[in-house]
Structures are given as C-alpha cells and as structure tokens.
C-alpha cells in the first residue's frame, strides 16, 4: 500500500520521474508543464536522482538531445506542452523512426493563435501521426500510473517506440487531488533495468543510425514501424496486468463505464470523462441506458476492441477537445473507422467542446445525453458536428 497525498497533476508526474530515475532528461519549460521540470530539476539538484539534466535553448533542442541520449543507450524522459510539442515536430518523427523508446509527458494545451495557455487536445492530436504511442489520462492518478507503465511499454522488446502520456493542462496539471503513490522500490522493480539495443556507446560493436534510405527500402522501414505499433496493444495489456498486481489499480485499452446494456454512449478523453460519469449515474438512476467509453490508448487505436464494446449502442456522441477545421474531430474519425470493422451501424454525432480551457460542465454532458436520447427516439440528426458551450 502506497502513500496517499494531495498533489497537483504536475507534482504526480515529477514524482513518477523521480521514482523512474531516468539516465538523461532534456527539457525546456512551457506552461502548463513547467512545474514538472521545475520539481524534477530540484530532485536533480538535491541528488535524489542520478539523472543528467540537460537544460537546452528550445524544445527542438530538447527532443534532439533526448534522441542523442537514447541512441547512446540511456533511458530518457522529457515533458512539454502545446507550442513546445509543435517545435519538436520534426524530431518527434526522428525519435520514432529511429525506434528510440523515449517517454514524454504531454500536458495538453491549446495551440496559438490566438495565444492561450489552457487545456485542450490540439497538441496531442496534432502529433497523432508522429509514430509515438499515446496514452491519455483522466486525472493525476492515471497520469502517474500511465507514465510508469509507459516506460515498460516503450522499452518492450516487441515495441521499441517512443511514448507520450497525456493529461489535461490546468484542469489536472494545476489542480490538487488526493492520489496514491507506489513505494520507490516497487516502481524500481516494476520498470526494471533498461537494456539498450545497439547503443552508440557500445564502441566494441559500432552501428550506423539514421542513415539515408532511398525508395528501394524506405517503405519497408515504415511498414515495420507500423508492425511495431501493432504489437503495442498486447504489451499494454500485459504491462497493465502486472501493474495491477503491484498497485491494485486496473487498466485496459480503454475504460468502459456502464456500457454493457447501454443504448446511448458518450466517447470522451481525459478529465471530462469523470464529469460525464457522474452525470451518467444520474441518468441511469432515471432508467436511461447510457454509458461511456474513455479511450486510454489512442495510438495505436484499438479499433476492433472499441467496436466490440460499442456494438450494442444505437446512438453515440463523440466529444472532441480538438478541432479539425473543415472536418470531424479527431476522436470522431477514429470511432467512425472503428464502427466500420464490425458492421454495426450506430448513429454518431460529434461535439467539439472545451477548446482553450473552456469549462466542460455537467450541464454539457446532460445536453449531449438528451440529444442522443432524442435521436434514438426520432432517428433524426440535426447536425452531425456541432459545438458545446460556445458563446454566440
């Protein structure tokens, strides 16, 4: 049994990083993830970790240094948000293409312009195709648990890919909540010792990394990257099973809440899922069969499993905290693709909510459920894509 403390989401992440004790950490501060590195830098200064902390001049350099350190053979971590992730962009692809198991916390924040420091998922969704494993977290506890598990997932022999753990900026990163920490030795044993593959510092066995590959073999590289991603699901479940043994907390590819007999369902990521669950309980008390699916693993996306979980549902409301201008929200597109895999054809609507930190209130969840209910009764959809809580 670990210690229960009241801490911010950022504190929880910094604490997980202290327990993981990575070899190298290169970072550049950006709101709302700043506190992660601020606290971790204090651990370094106080000698509580053995980490080489590299303070660089930009996020592009931060990710470059992470890649270099990972190629050299180190266990490497970092954290960022929003514009910071955007500035890392080209290096994100290089980290995954070179199969570097770097683990990063992404404290989700809107992208400029207009400038805004608050939480939405534009940054993480924008990095969808960068080849990183993505885990999403409802609260500080899940972010802490996900980060520890992400080390095992990224470094797994069948995976060897970078992973990012997402949590909502401010709503989680700056809010204090009670949560349980694992003892240091339990985390240490759980993640185990890092065994690098073909490290550059193994000078007895020199290797080439990041060479030019022309059309003759480029596609084979990319297909193998996809194959590595396909291994992730099994590894996530295997790691989750072991994690449950040491923590008592169980995780899957997604969370299904009151979904077994549901006719209506909400699909939503991160902190808004908690608010929705409380509202769903109220509707269940009134006999309305509504449930929720909260994806945890977004890349790779578990299409078949999600489709199976939603197969009995008549109407689905997919909530996106990110825009795809001129298109459906990114989560809607995934759920629509998922439902194509098993032939069940629910009616699906998309709601964009919470951009730039706009509050997502219980009333918003209730509005969505009311609309799903009306669609189930009439079969009529007013708008397939619409907004929640816009002031116009």
């Amino acid at each position: 049994m670990g210690k229960v403390l009241a801490v911010t989401g950022n504190q929880a992440i910094a604490e997980a990083m202290r327990q993981i004790n990575p070899d190298v950490c290169a970072a550049y501060p950006i709101t709302p993830s700043t506190e992660v590195m601020q606290r971790f830098a204090a651990f370094v200064a106080d000698g509580k970790v053995d980490t080489e902390l590299v303070t660089v001049e930009s996020e592009h350099s931060a990710m470059s240094a992470c890649i270099g350190a990972s190629a050299a053979g180190g266990r490497v971590m970092t954290a960022t948000s929003s514009q910071g992730l955007a500035l890392m962009w080209e290096m994100l692809h290089i980290a995954s293409g070179m199969r570097m198991p770097i683990v990063m916390t992404l404290v989700n924040r809107a992208l400029s312009a207009p400038i805004n420091i608050h939480g939405d998922h534009s940054d993480g969704m924008g990095a969808r195709d960068c080849g990183w494993v993505q885990l999403w977290s409802e609260n500080g506890q899940e972010a802490y648990d996900n980060l520890i598990q992400a080390i095992r997932i990224a470094e797994h022999e069948d995976v060897r890919l970078p992973a990012m753990v997402n949590m909502d900026g401010f709503i989680i990163s700056h809010s204090i909540e009670s949560m349980e920490f694992l003892p240091d030795d339990v985390v240490k044993d759980f993640i185990g010792e890092y065994k690098p593959k073909n490290p550059l510092l193994d000078i007895e066995n020199p290797v080439t990394m990041g060479p030019l590959v022309l059309p003759d073999y480029f596609m084979e590289f990319k297909r193998q990257q996809h194959e590595a991603m396909l291994h992730v699901k099994d590894v996530v479940l295997e790691v989750a099973k072991e994690f449950e043994k040491v923590s008592g907390r169980s995780y899957g590819l997604f969370e299904a809440y009151r979904l077994d007999d549901a006719e209506l369902a909400i699909v939503v990521l991160n902190s808004a899922a908690g608010t929705c669950k409380d509202v769903i309980d109220e509707y269940r008390d009134r006999g309305i069969k509504v449930g929720l699916l909260k994806p945890r693993l977004f890349r790779p996306f578990p299409y078949e499993e999600v489709a199976e979980a939603l197969s009995g549902v008549k109407v689905i409301g997919v909530l996106d905290r990110a825009e795809s201008f001129g298109g459906f929200g990114p989560m809607y597109m995934e759920i629509a693709s998922a439902m194509m895999t098993n032939g069940s054809k629910p009616i699906m609507i998309n709601k964009i909510y919470g951009l730039g930190g706009r509050d997502f209130m219980p009333e918003h969840a209730a509005m969505v459920i009311d609309e799903l209910k009306e669609i189930a009764e009439t079969g009529k959809v007013k708008l397939y894509k619409d907004y929640l809580g816009v002031r116009e």
């Binding site: 229960v4 009241a6 608050h118 409802e138 700056h174 930190g357 509050d359 219980p362």
Partner: protein, 191 residues
C-alpha cells in the same frame, strides 16, 4: 456530513486564498477522504477578484469543473460583497463564512440570505494584523471555516498549516499563522 461537500472561496489576489484552499484539502485527507483544491485561472494580479474551489468527499471525486452549487462559501475579502454575487448557485442550506468586523445579523441582511442559510463572521484581517502583522486573512479564515463547517478539527488543521508553511517560512511567521488559525476557530461568530 453530506457525501460530498463543495466549497467556493472568494478573495483578491495576494490574500493567500489559493493557499488556504490547498491547506484545507490537505487537512481533509484525514479519515481516508478524497479531496480536490483548484483555483480559477484568470489574469493573476494582486487585488483582482479570484475564486478557488474545494471538493471533499467520502467517495472518489470524478467531477473536474468549477463548483457552481457550493455548500460552503468563504468570503476572504468583504469588499467583494459590493461587486460580486457570492450567493450565486448556493443551495438553501448553504453556509457563508465572511471576513468582516460586522455582526452576522448585519451581514445576513446585506447579503439577503435565506433563513435556512447560515452565516458566520470573523474579523480575519484584524486578527491577521495582530498576529502576523500583515493583512493576510487566509490562516484565520481557515480556522473559521473549519469551525463553521465541522470538516476538520483544530489540531489536524494546525498540523497542516504548520506543514504547509514549514519549509518556506521562519519559526516566527509559522507561530503567528498558527495563532491566527486558532483565533479564527475560536472567535468566529454564528448568526
């Protein structure tokens, strides 16, 4: 105690309102309760009105949004009563704790409270000046709120005030804040 208690703090930047919400969350961890503490992030400047929130519950807290129907409202700066409706959304059995030298009956009238709502007053700024030597009413308000709500006993609260000030401040400042907390607990008036 109800299953979940929701608290809304009204203060001005620089009065330690956010710290008060954090210390309360820590103090309420006792007995295996679940807690939340979070401020509203706006333009952060000294003197500007701000809100902070707590949720304290016997069951896990899943709601992640501001408190709109507070069971308890703490007004750290009484000048806000003239510019903000601090009663907004408060249910009929809400408790108000106001930092003022005025009597509870006078404040009740000013705030147009319902008969079923309770009001407590404490002259937290005066107590802060006498103990800490600066107009920082947060520790005193914590003591008053603890007494008015019954959420946490004085000894537990004092431990947490000490713990949260301990690493950053001198012995003298910690002792002064503990005294302010104690006086808030003892001098708060119900009306």
């Amino acid at each position: 105690m109800a299953e979940t208690v929701e608290i809304r703090w009204h203060g001005r930047g620089g009065q330690g309102t956010v710290t008060a919400a954090k210390v309360l969350a820590d103090a309420c961890l006792s007995g295996g309760r679940h807690v939340q503490a979070f401020p509203e992030y706006g333009p952060e400047r000294a003197g500007a009105p701000l809100r902070a929130y707590n949720r304290i519950s016997s069951k896990p807290l899943r709601m992640h949004c501001p408190v709109t129907k507070p069971n308890i409202v703490a007004v750290v700066d009484a000048t806000l009563l003239d510019s903000i409706d601090v009663t907004e959304g408060a249910p009929d059995d809400a408790i108000f704790v106001v930092n003022t030298g005025k009597e509870p009956s006078e404040i009740r009238q000013k705030m147009k409270l319902k008969d079923t709502q309770k009001v407590y007053t404490v002259d937290a700024t005066k107590i802060a000046l006498e103990t800490i030597g600066r107009p920082l009413p947060n520790s005193c308000m914590l003591g008053a709120l603890a007494k008015a709500s019954g959420l946490v006993d004085l000894d537990t609260l004092l431990e947490d005030v000490k713990g949260s000030f301990g690493s950053k401040f001198s012995e003298k400042i910690i002792t002064a804040n503990l005294e302010a907390t104690r006086r808030g607990y003892e001098e708060v008036k119900e009306g």
